[in-house]
Symmetry: C2
Subunit: 261 residues, 2 copies
């Protein structure tokens, strides 16, 4: 894959099947989004869940009305075809993984585009910090923590957190950098002792892959965009569609434009 | 002491001897400064030391020319009388502690006013965080760390750091708040393992008093304004005058005006 493709060209490649799979590292400089699609009847509660839990669920855009498959705020997007891989959930259970949801599309579907850690990882790397999962070429380790999200209607979840280790001075710098980006999870929610947030073994993540943590490093934990998938599993809507992990919606928004300062 | 005195009224009380001693908690909302006074011959190197080490030595103001005892940027100040207690060093050795330096004043003396942690402690307290040394009514514990300052001429020092413990989420918040205030030491320089910066026992600070650190807390370490006093001891200028610990110059500058954002 040509990493320097524009977001629009990359979406075109995804739409036509020329690009399949992970979008990590592609279209550098541009925002990639977590996607959740729900029937309108479930959308108001999920929207409220996002508003109550902005760190795991930082809402960047929705479609303008139910059934719209465009997301004009994010570029010339057709949400039915422009994500490399979709997961289909029925009654909270994963039933299918597909590359196109045109046959599933309905006039009552509401799309939620949420910020993703790729944006802040790019900011950390640009500052010269090492991001361990990038260095080791694996998915970031993610854990179901004991931190409760605020529920909204049927949506409830323990917060899923992603972990990246840093030495102390770099940890402080990482907190400063990520604070600028609340729209993509913002500052870490915890650092240090994993047990304090209910994580018993860093070497056994619930999602993603383990990474090495050195003796002089502290683990930093960020609210993670997998949290809404846990809330979907709890809420058991008749239909829900999400992106597949790592296979994000690539947008025309620049990461730098998400910085609050 | 009336805590709500204006900075100008408080300086007047100090000048006339009506107020003696610690200025902690007085004139809330206003910047208090560490003071270093040196002969002109030593001033250029010390200024460079401050510029090279802005975290322990955040320079806020100097007098406009050698011998001036005014500091108009900081208010209607006479630096010879407006600090509650001064320390006099000769050849790097503490030889006297006085409440007035009019008889010591010379036409070649340069005054340096440096930011002080009182400003960021106020910002932490205003955000609802607990500052342990304030809660426990003691001086903040300070330690000579293994972090080397960048030397300038005869001025060299290991960085002195102050320590305040926080639970992880509050530690992250404290880093965010202090990042806004680079003129008063800014963000911590270290957190977590004291041994990583050469501190062997938190219970035995080199300056100030020990504070309790709970099992679920991390120690956060800030660059400290005592560092320049260590550099003075190393440089051994024939004359140097500083404030006594905790007895600061109270200025008309508002703490909020030091915030960079």
């Amino acid at each position: 894959m040509n990493m320097s493709l524009s977001p629009a060209a990359l979406r075109q490649a995804i739409r036509t099947g020329a690009h399949i799979g992970n979008t990590s590292g592609l279209a550098p400089g541009f925002v990639q989004c977590n996607i959740v699609i729900l029937p309108q009847q479930w959308a108001a509660d999920f929207l409220r869940f996002c508003q109550l839990n902005p760190r795991p669920c930082p809402l960047i855009a929705t479609n303008q009305r139910p059934g719209d498959h465009a997301l004009p705020l994010l570029g010339d997007v057709d949400i039915r075809t422009d994500v490399p891989s979709y997961r289909v959930f029925r009654d909270g259970l994963l039933v299918d993984e597909v590359t196109d949801i045109r046959t599933l599309w309905r006039d009552d579907l509401v799309t939620f585009a949420l910020g993703c850690s790729f944006s802040f990882e790019e900011a950390l790397l640009a500052d010269g910090l090492e991001v361990r999962n990038v260095t080791e070429g694996v998915n970031v380790p993610m854990y179901r923590s004991a931190i409760d999200c605020t529920p909204a209607g049927p949506f409830a979840a323990s917060m899923v957190v992603s972990m990246r280790p840093f030495r102390a001075a770099d940890a402080i710098r990482a907190i400063q950098i990520c604070t600028r980006f609340p729209a993509v999870h913002g500052a870490p929610v915890h650092l240090g002792d994993p047990g304090a947030i209910g994580i018993s073994d860093l070497g056994r993540p619930d999602y993603g892959d383990p990474v090495s943590v050195r003796a002089d490093e502290l683990p930093l934990f960020w609210a993670c965009g997998v949290t809404p998938q846990v809330a979907l599993e709890a809420a058991r809507p008749p239909l829900a569609i999400t992106h597949s992990p790592g296979c994000m919606l690539v947008t025309d928004l620049r990461n730098s434009r998400l910085a609050v300062l």
